[in-house]
Amino acid sequence: MFDTLIIMLDATLRVSTPLILAALAGLYAERSGIVDIGLEGKILGSAFAAAAGAAVFGSAWIGLACGVLASIVLALIHGFACITHRGDHIVSGVAINTIVAGLTVTLGLDWFGMGGQTPTLSGDQRFTEITLPFADALRDVPVIGQIYSNLLSGHNIIVYLAFLMVPATYWIIYKTRFGLRLRAVGENPHAVDTAGISVAWIRYRALIVCGILCGIAGAYLSTAHNAGFLKDMSAGKGYMALAALIFGKWRPVPVLFACLLFGFLDAVAVRLQGVVIPGMGEVPVQLIEVLPYVLTVLLLAGFIGKAVAPKAVGRPYVKERA
């Protein structure tokens, strides 16, 4: 039983990683007042670019750089539409998602000719598991050893990075000048403008950070979690991250727990695949996969209190006649 739990929690960490990165990405965007439904597209675009880069150059790190770059470009397009041209945030985000879904497959076919996939990655083309110090030695110590060696050790570097990003984000948001301005611009851009700070520049910077984090999430999917790019491999992770962001009320630590919860449900879904419950037959996996969304709706509907979004989120900033 304990072993099963460790295995499930281990899977939870792996599945949660892209969610955490994407949700934190969304946190920067939305705290600055930009609704980013395009998280999904950025993850997918980055997954493709990372796998392609890794396949061509033979390095997971170069792949990561390609993924991050692609994601930043997409974030800047979103910024250009929403900040510079005051477009509708949802429309722009959906457009990015749609374009990326088609573009990745098209480019994949053209470049690799493998039905839209990238070549299978191996060796240095992937991020491999890191064994923490003494993990092997401690493996046989009951409980603590198992937790350390089997749960905490043996993940790739991006998993550790994702978890480190949570305190880092907390620190940036609450303890730095950039964070103060970021929070202010999402609440009352007029106050920021009259304080002599450029609203657009802060929002662009927030979107660049958002792009970087989504880029890492995408690269994780194709070069760490899997060994190559598959069509639509982001599979709604961007939307789930958005749900986790709302669930976590736009705060780094609660967002982490929301992501872990969703990741755990995902791990349960995988675990329950093919399991037969007496009298009911096989558990429909779809039922469990839908749980995170159902949970979000239910919990937001009354159990965790009102989720108060940054006040200016989704609203283009226009200087008004004072």
Binding site: T176, R177, G179, L180, A184, E187, H190, I197, K319
Partner: protein, 518 residues
């Protein structure tokens, strides 16, 4: 102006600014000696706020320049203004509501990439400022939990923290109680004692006289006069503000007021901030008369119209209309009142009178769109709507007479005719009409005025709200003057002249002057 050896703290030369067709500021010149409170007074829309936005870098002037301490400064954005030592307290506070006082004050002047150090410094500096100017505040309080007066104090502290030597306050007392306002003026006085120069923008004469050294008057985008406050009085300022305008002539016979159609008793209303906008207003509206409501804009006329027409509920008092009693606990909404034959032409036709994206024939039935005349069994009766619109356009001389033109594309006067025609053609018993000729050209004004008089002569009751004194005097049979949410005077139109009304509008009309006027 006085001869002042030291350079002026701030000097404006020939500032002009145009928004599309509106000349918001025209060749504005202003000299403000250091360490004084300088009032800028004018009616709403006179261009005061635009001018201040130019000084603070929110807009760039089309021409002209600004000097601070004798040096020409180039102010392109708020940052430049802050650097030049100019601080602004906006009419609508520029505060992040879920931030603490400290965070709000620091925003934009954090003193480094990390907050901690700057926070300690800001805390110390705020303590010093609080001591020096007696501006005490709990720096760790969250702004949205503070009363309005203290929020304003945060705005002042923000400016001082940035080293402002020139402080602009835009309508600072609009949201304050009289006590808070008095306290503000004490603060301003102590600021000037420390060498800060204050520009006070307001349309309230009392505040100008109570707190300024000099005063400049703006009217329709122009600076029309400069006075030392000690050498002027309410009377003169009111006249300068309102100005002498070309008298409009309306041919009408003596009114024959009959039975009371609408009576309001002790109406009061609070705004969302809890400030009383309407104070114990009582009035009677009789068949066959036009009752004019005069007043400087923003003294409760809009609230009165909204309450009478059912757009906003009243907080105290009662309205008797068409055999019904309307109170706070038994309200009637605008649609119900329409059914009782009360029509309303709102003050702002773009926001409340029309849907500017609608075609004329659609706009022409708004508010009456559920009426049987325009509806078939399931769908709306487009043909009936079009016919109605066509006949009204002919009767009211709307140009171009095209029912399919979007209302946004008609001129102001023709838009207004569409709105007034819509309300009048329903044959109401009571017509509430706000600013009937705002932004309307001369020809259309005459036409609209004639129609209003015609409606009166057919035995209807009309309540006219206008900030145009000429219009009030030309149309009304009886005039009520509003000031600060209350009715402060009533005149028969025959006894009304500009001077008396101006004094009443400034609430400066006491018994002595009444005697002198007669």
């Amino acid at each position: 102006m006085t001869n002042n050896k030291t350079p002026y703290a701030i000097e404006l030369r020939d500032i002009s600014k145009r928004f599309g067709a509106v000349q918001a500021n025209k060749d504005i010149c202003l000299q403000v000696p250091a360490g004084t409170v300088h009032g800028i007074i004018g009616e709403n829309g006179a261009g005061k706020s635009t001018l201040m936005s130019i000084i603070y870098g929110f807009y760039e002037a089309d021409s002209g320049h600004i000097e601070v301490d004798g040096q020409i400064v180039d102010i392109r954005n708020s940052q430049d203004a802050i650097k030049a030592g100019i601080g602004m307290v906006h009419q609508h506070f520029m505060l992040v509501e879920n931030f603490t006082v400290l965070e709000n004050v620091m925003l934009g002047a954090e003193g480094g990439a990390l907050l901690q150090q700057g926070m300690d410094a800001a805390r110390a500096e705020l303590k010093r400022l609080a001591h020096e100017y007696s501006l005490d505040i709990d720096v760790d309080a969250v702004v949205e939990e503070l009363p309005v007066g203290l929020q304003q104090r945060v705005e002042i502290l923000k400016a001082l923290y940035r080293g402002a030597r020139i402080l602009i306050l835009d309508e600072p007392t609009g949201v304050l109680t009289p006590q808070e306002a008095d306290h503000l003026f004490r603060i301003l006085r102590s600021l000037t004692e420390q060498g800060v120069t204050v520009l006070l923008i307001t349309h309230k004469l009392r505040e100008i006289l109570a707190s300024t050294t000099n005063v400049s008057v703006m009217r329709q985008g122009e600076m029309v006069a400069h006075r030392e406050t000690a050498n002027t009085d309410k009377e003169e300022l009111a006249e300068l503000m309102v100005g002498k305008k070309v008298r409009l002539k309306v041919d009408k016979d003596e009114a024959t007021p009959a039975e009371v159609f609408l009576s309001a008793k002790h109406l009061s209303q609070l705004d969302s901030q809890g400030v009383k906008r309407l104070k114990d207003v009582s009035l009677e509206l009789r068949a066959g008369e036009i009752l004019g409501i005069a007043g400087v804009s923003g003294n409760g006329q809009s609230e009165l119209l909204n309450v009478l027409s059912g757009i906003t509920p009243l907080d105290e008092g009662e309205i008797q209309f068409a055999g019904q009693t309307i109170t706070a606990s038994a309200p009637k909404n605008a649609a119900e009142l329409r059914d009782l034959k009360m029509a309303h032409v709102p003050e702002d036709r773009h926001k409340m009178g029309l849907v500017t994206g609608f075609e004329a024939y659609e706009a022409a039935v708004l508010g009456y769109h559920n009426s049987d005349a325009y509806n078939g069994k399931i769908l709306m009766n487009r043909k009936a709507m079009l016919e109605e619109c066509n006949s009204r356009m002919a009767a009211w001389d709307v140009r171009p007479p095209n029912p399919h033109l979007k209302t946004a594309n008609f001129s102001g006067g023709n838009q207004q005719k569409i709105v007034i025609a819509r309300e009048v053609e329903q044959n109401p018993d009571v017509l509430l009409i706000g600013q009937p000729t705002r932004g309307v050209d001369i020809g259309a004004i005459e036409n609209i005025h004639e129609q209003i008089v015609k409606l009166r002569d057919s035995g209807k009751a009309i309540l006219l709200v206008s900030v145009e004194l000429d219009e009030i005097m030309a149309l009304s049979d009886r005039i009520l003057v509003m000031f600060d949410g209350a009715v402060v005077g009533e005149l028969d139109a025959k006894d009304a002249d500009e001077r008396t009304l101006g004094l009443m509008m400034a609430n400066a009309y006491n018994e002595d002057q009444k005697g002198a006027a007669q």
